[in-house]
Structure formats: C-alpha cells, structure tokens
C-alpha cells in the first residue's frame, strides 16, 4: 500500500511536490485561523505561536519519547489547543484591537521563552527526524488538509458555527439570544489552535529543522494574509488564499531580491481592488443554483 502510493508520487516533480505539501500545511493553518478571525470575528495576530507550540511539541515528543508520528499530530494539536484555552480565557475579555495586541504579545512572549528553554535547544533550534509513516508524507498532509476542510464545512453549518457567526455580527445581540459568547469564543480559539498545532507538527517534520525565530510576527501575518486575501469566513476562499500565497513567492522567485518588494506591493493592490478578498461574498451554493437555472427566492 505504502509503496504503491510512494510510486505514484514519484511521477511528480519533487519541487512541485514540495510546494504541494507547503500548500497542504498552509490550508490546515489558515482554516484554523479562519475559524477564529473569519467566522468568530476575533482578530488574532498570534497564530504563529500555536504553530510553534505544535511544531516543538511534535519534535520533542519524537526526539525524547519516540512516539509514532500519527499519535504526535493529535498530541501536538491537543497541546496547542490547551494553550489556546489558556490564552483564550483571560484575553477574550478584551475586544477588537486590544485582543489583537494581546495575542501578538503572547506570540512574542512564547517565541522568546522558546528561545531560552534548554529543551527547545535555545536559539540553535531543533533538527527533526523524518517521520516514519506507512503513508508517504505528502499524501498524509493532503488527507489531513481535506479532513480539515470537511470538518470546517461541518462546523460552519452546525449550530456551533451559526452561534460563532452570530457573535461575529453582533456580540451583544447574540448574548441576548442566549449564546454564551465567552464560552463559544474560547471553544473557537481552542479548535483554531488545535489545527495550528497539527499544521505545526507537519511543518516540523517536513522542513526537518525548526527554530523559534521562524515563528515570529511575520509568520502570523502570513497566515492572516491567506485568510483575508481569500475572503474572511469563506472556506473555499481560505483554501484559495493559502494556495495563492504559498505559490506566489515561488512564481516571484525569478525576480530574486525584488521578490518581497513585489509581494508587499501585491498585498496593497489586492486589497485595493478586491478589499473583501478573492472569494469574499461569493457563495458557491448560489453559483451552483444559478448554473442550474433555479435560484431559490430569498436563498443565500
């Protein structure tokens, strides 16, 4: 089974395969943040912190305890989720931009703490062995990415997801309708952190080397860009945003040192011409209905 899958992957150019894996990881990360920022409306500037917690947990569990990779993913996700709750409890009393700066602060603190811990090898970072899994890693990543997409679709249309959207639209009105906003926000935070932890575990084992400085402010910003560029709260949008922003630097590689210059300008132009993101406000169900020629009256 494993060899067969591996053989099928050998058809793909390794460079493209690597980009594909990066896209898969980005989708997992961005969907987690989309739940927090897109669906619940809580601007978080510290998603990289959960990513780094996941990455380091997975690396340390592998190196010190030799736990199998599949168990690692779940464990790292759960550890990140615990931190999500821990951070969520006090911070979610804050609203709007105060929450943004508090999460940013937490991310910086976690980065500096990791830079000073012996177990994370301080500023030297950790080398992570390649995972020993029956399924090849690229397929594993994409399987989890697709599972994440499915889970997010399920969450968005569930009672829980509708409560989150109610909180995003108007927290006080939602409270008045009997929604316990704080509890829901913490749950959303925990789920988002869980997926960041899972993504972090994949990241650590795929890149094979992690350093606390990799998970700085700009990493959080990268993930936020994916969500906003795709369209806040839209799952296909987030997937598209994650893919575009992972591939864009590769396409811009021919410009060498001007790459980041163009990237910055691109962000500004994208926002000016498509301020709600590429797929913001686009409803797929509506498009399908329209194509079939029967748009339900008053339907979304």
């Amino acid at each position: 089974m494993g060899e067969l899958l591996q053989a099928s992957l050998n058809w793909i150019d390794p460079y493209i395969l690597q980009i594909l894996v990066n896209i898969g990881i980005a989708i997992i990360l961005a969907l987690g943040l989309n739940l927090i920022t897109g669906l619940t409306g809580q601007l978080s500037l510290g998603h990289a912190a959960f990513l780094s917690i996941g990455a380091f947990s997975s690396a340390i569990l592998t190196i010190k305890l030799g736990i199998p990779f599949s168990l690692n993913i779940v464990a790292s996700g759960l550890i990140a989720a615990c931190f999500g709750v821990l951070i969520g409890f006090p911070t979610l009393r804050l609203s709007g931009d105060y929450l943004a700066i508090a999460t940013l602060g937490f991310a910086e603190i976690i980065k500096v703490v990791f830079l000073n811990l012996d177990i994370t090898n301080r500023a030297l970072g950790l080398s992570v062995p390649l995972p020993n899994t029956p399924i090849p890693l690229p397929i594993y990543v994409w399987a989890i990415a697709i599972l994440t997409i499915a889970a997010m679709c399920f969450i968005q249309n569930s009672r829980f997801g509708r409560a989150l959207q109610a909180i995003r639209e108007d927290e006080i009105a939602a409270e008045a309708m009997g929604i316990n906003a704080t509890r829901y926000k913490i749950q959303a935070f925990a789920i988002g952190a869980f997926f960041a932890g899972v993504g972090g575990a994949f990241y650590a084992h795929f890149i094979a080397y992690i350093n606390p400085s990799d998970f700085a402010f700009l990493k959080s910003v990268d993930i936020l860009n994916m969500v906003v560029l795709g369209g806040l709260g839209s799952i296909p949008g987030t997937v598209l945003g994650a893919s575009v922003l992972t591939v864009a630097p590769e396409f811009l590689r021919f410009m060498q040192q001007y790459r980041m210059l163009v990237y910055g300008a691109l962000l500004v132009f994208m926002m000016i011409f498509r301020p709600n993101g590429l797929l913001g406000g686009v409803s797929f169900r509506r498009l399908v209905w329209k194509a079939m020629g029967k748009l339900p009256a008053g339907g979304r």
């Binding site: 804050l94 602060g105 937490f106 301020p275």
Partner: protein, 291 residues
Amino acid sequence: MFWQQLINGLTLGFTYALIALGYTMVYGIIQLINFAHGEIFMMGAFFALLLVTVFQLNIFVAMILAMAFCMLLGVIIEFVAYRPLRKSGRLSALISAIGVSIFLSTLALLLFGADAKGFPDNSFPVTQFKIGSATVSSLQLLIFGVSSFLMLALEFIVHKTKLGKAMRATSQDYNTAALMGINVNWIISFTFALGSSLAAAGGVLVGLYFNAVNWNMGLMAGLKAFAAAVLGGIGSIPGAMLGGVFLGVAEVFGVAAGFSSFRDAIAFAILVLVLFIKPTGFFGLKIQKKV
C-alpha cells in the same frame, strides 16, 4: 545604579513614546493599526543618515529634513494604500498596512544593504555629565530635549489650534465632522504627516543613540511602540507618552535585573498583564456597548 538605569530607561522610553504617538493619533482618527509606522521610523533614520554622511549636513538640519521627508512619505502612503480602503473592512486596511511595511523594509534592504550603518562620530559631540552617582550623556539630554519639545508642540497643535480642534472633532465622529464643514480627508492627511514626522525624529534619535541604523529596526520598535500606545489606551495622546516611557523604563530595569535574554518579551508581558487588570489601558475610554 538605580538612577543610572532610570536615566537609561527614560531615554529609551521617550523614543518609544515618540513613535507611539503616531500610532495613537492614526488609530484615534481612522481606527487603523498603521503597521507601516515602524518602517517610517526606519526610513527617517536612513534619510537623516544619508544627509549627514553624503551631504555633510548638520545633524539638526538633517533631522528636520528627515521629518519633512517622512511627513511626505506618510501622506503618500495614506493616499495610495489606505484612502481607497476607507469604506471597506478594517482588516483589509490592516493587510494593506502590512503590505506597505513589507515593501518599505525590503526597499531599505535593497537600497542600503543588510548591515547596520552608524552615524559618523563627529555628527554629534558626546560628553558625559555627572549627576550624583549617575552619568548623563549629552546624547541622552538631546533625546529628552527634542522629544519633550516635540510632544509639547504636538500638545499645542492638538489643543490650541484650529487644525487640532478639527482633528479632535474628526476622531470623535467622522461623519458629523464632515457635515460640519471639516475637510476630513485633509485632516487625516495632516494626522499622518504629524505622526510620521514624530516617528522620523524618533528614528534619528534612536539611530544616534545606538549608533546603528538597520533595515529591520522598524519592526520591533514599531511593535513595542504599538504596545506602548495600547498600554496607554489607544487613541489617547497622554496615554501614548506615559505608555512609552513606562515600557522603556520597565525594559531597562528588566534587563538590569538579569532578564536580558527576555528583553523583547518584557514590554509585551507588561502589556498583557496591564490589559488583564485594565482592559482598555491607562487612559482608555470605557467602551460603550450598544445593540
């Protein structure tokens, strides 16, 4: 020892306060976290450095020209990257600001290289003064003097002039201010110009003080100044001053107490602690929630 550290802390704090003022004013008027502000600070330092090294200008002239240059830069950034987004969501404006910040820091990297540059030794004469057991350098006095002067000037502009009144009106209520005949676009540009010039002055002072100007100095300084603005209560001008000074002093004392490897986390740890106790910062207005 205590007094020496207090002087060092105040020096750092005054520069944070200068940058934080730009954050707080822009936030107060259009509710935008202007992440490009740190890069304006960096650009100001580089521009002054260029004037001092290439054109052999006096440091004070260079500082004033850098402030003027950054005023222009701030207004252009607002016009290009924020004005078209004023009607759309706040997050898109935030991403736009981040795009500008990436653009400017990469531009500086390409133009000036990756290594830190220093001001020439003769650009400002450094002498040490002894006060009791502590020493104050002329550079520190310069920082105290220039920042205090700029802050007083700002306070005067905001509270005593017609433009300042218009600024305050716009930050109170954007639409009503426009209805009252205030040219809101003009006022927003003016706010960006003021904030950017203060950041430029801060950049020159920091560049002189640490004798290093670096393409990525804007990021951490910007984040810390933003933390200072939030600590004081974002939107409040005295809050930004107090928050900046407080964080600077706290950071220096933290380093002196042996937490030097945690240097960059000290400001944020204090910020998070204060926000738990007082969720809107020192001088933040209580947010009225309405349905």
